[in-house]
């Protein structure tokens, strides 16, 4: 598992690491039982603060995707509960209908994106 960091992305470094593990799970590059690189290896490979790596691993534990085995390392324990592409379809249809209404109401692309983004962010903040 190779990590990388984009300091211009505006995404917190620990979240970038979390997202990369999730992505690796989604792509099948990681699966249940695999050992994640040690905190020291990630810190040395990416040139990132070890506490950031620890935080990312704790977040993965919190999400039920990884668990530490004392003295051995952190292991992948779960799979992403993502929906299959077929199950995405009804949600996509609903979203398209909404996009059509937003257009009809006079919003342009940027307006739609801004509205989605702020609503999405507020929703996430309220959920956590």
């Amino acid at each position: 598992m190779e990590f990388h960091l984009d300091t211009r992305s505006g995404v917190a470094p620990y979240l970038q690491l979390v997202q990369q593990v999730r992505q690796a799970l989604r792509l099948g590059l990681l699966s249940e039982g695999d050992r994640l690189p040690t905190v020291k290896d990630v810190a040395a490979q990416v040139a990132v603060n070890p506490n950031t790596v620890l935080k990312a691993y704790r977040e993965l534990e919190h999400q039920g995707l990884a668990a530490p085995k004392p003295g051995v390392g952190t292991f992948v324990t779960g799979t992403l509960g993502d929906l299959s592409p077929a199950e995405h379809e009804p949600l996509r249809r609903e979203l398209r209908r909404w996009l059509g209404r937003a257009r009809a109401a006079g919003l342009d692309e940027e307006g739609i994106e801004a509205l989605f983004r702020t609503t999405f962010r507020t929703h996430i903040e309220e959920e956590t």
């Binding site: 300091t7 040395a44 990416v46 040139a47 603060n49 506490n51």
Partner: protein, 297 residues
């Protein structure tokens, strides 16, 4: 969390020039601290005071509860790499390691030899013939092989090319991960600091302007863009750090517990670079103090 470095009203004056004034800080143990500020702001002075290379003209500084350089034990706990990573040009890399072993009671010879080998540096090479990146790595090796509890680095990567810079920071983070040391490094390169630091201290004109954990700073600072209005007219809980006004628009950097949503403005997070630049700007308000209304300026 115990403090590894504590200063109270710390100051250093060179003749008429006040290099550091009224500096009160508490650096928690186990952090990697980024020390930022314009040239001449007092960064090197603070680091040299912390390692005992110079003594204060006012106030106090303690490292691990003792005054810096107060004895051999205290000296062994602190590693310092001065600006430009000085080395003895005529001595070989191996000579430097032997010197390190001779001068430091807790010297970790294996750590030093391992690092030099993995970096692909020839121990028989004279330090004067090393590249800038290799010399910086040699200086870091000497500082970490004494296994300090506090490592002070003055502009360690300023003179390095991007590749050597990344290599240096990788080595530094590996050391931190393995030995859990506290690091204070000064740098102009905020993008590097964002990767490696979890605590930030900003010095401006010999004074501490901002100090805190990076995560806390990032989650409490926002850029607020709105139709032109006075900073005072913003609701309570939004502390204006900096205000810029154009004909119709006002852009504020505000400090707040959480983002306040209002259709009249856009409030978005700030990245570390913008946050640092905001505080380094002399026009920014002093933290805690009420900003001067734009109309009075």
């Amino acid at each position: 969390m115990t403090a590894i470095l504590e200063t109270a009203g710390l100051g250093k004056r060179y003749g008429r020039r006040q290099a550091l004034s009224d500096c009160t800080l508490s650096v928690p143990r186990g952090r990697v601290v980024g020390l930022v500020g314009p040239n001449g702001a007092g960064k090197s002075t603070l680091l040299q005071l912390a390692c005992g290379l110079i003594s204060p003209t006012s106030g106090t500084v303690t490292v691990l509860g003792e005054p810096p350089a107060s004895g051999p034990e205290q000296l062994a706990k602190v590693g310092f790499v001065a600006q430009d990573a000085p080395a003895y040009a005529a001595l070989t890399v191996a000579d430097h390691l032997r010197l390190g072993a001779r001068l430091n009671p807790g010297w970790d010879a294996r750590l030093a030899a391992d690092r030099i080998r993995r970096l692909g540096i020839d121990p028989a090479q004279r330090a004067g013939a090393l590249s800038g990146g290799q010399r910086a790595q040699l200086a870091l090796t000497l500082a970490v092989a004494k296994r300090p509890e506090l490592l002070l680095l003055d502009e360690p990567v300023a003179a390095l090319d991007p590749l050597a810079r990344r290599e240096f920071l990788r080595g530094l983070m590996e050391f931190v991960a393995e030995h859990g040391a506290t690091v204070i490094l000064s740098s102009h390169l905020v993008s590097d600091l964002e990767r490696v630091c979890d605590h930030l201290i900003a010095l401006v004109a010999s004074r501490v302007r901002l100090a805190g954990d990076v995560e806390e700073l990032l989650t409490t600072h926002f850029r607020l863009t709105t139709a032109r209005r006075d900073g005072d007219s913003l609701p309570d809980g939004l502390e204006v750090v900096r205000a810029v006004h154009t004909g119709r628009q006002s852009t504020f950097v505000v400090r707040a517990e959480t983002a306040a949503h209002d259709p009249a403005w856009v409030m978005e997070p700030l990245d570390l670079e913008d946050l640092v630049l905001t505080y380094l700007d002399p026009a920014a308000a002093t933290p805690g103090a009420r900003p001067v209304p734009e109309t009075l300026r």
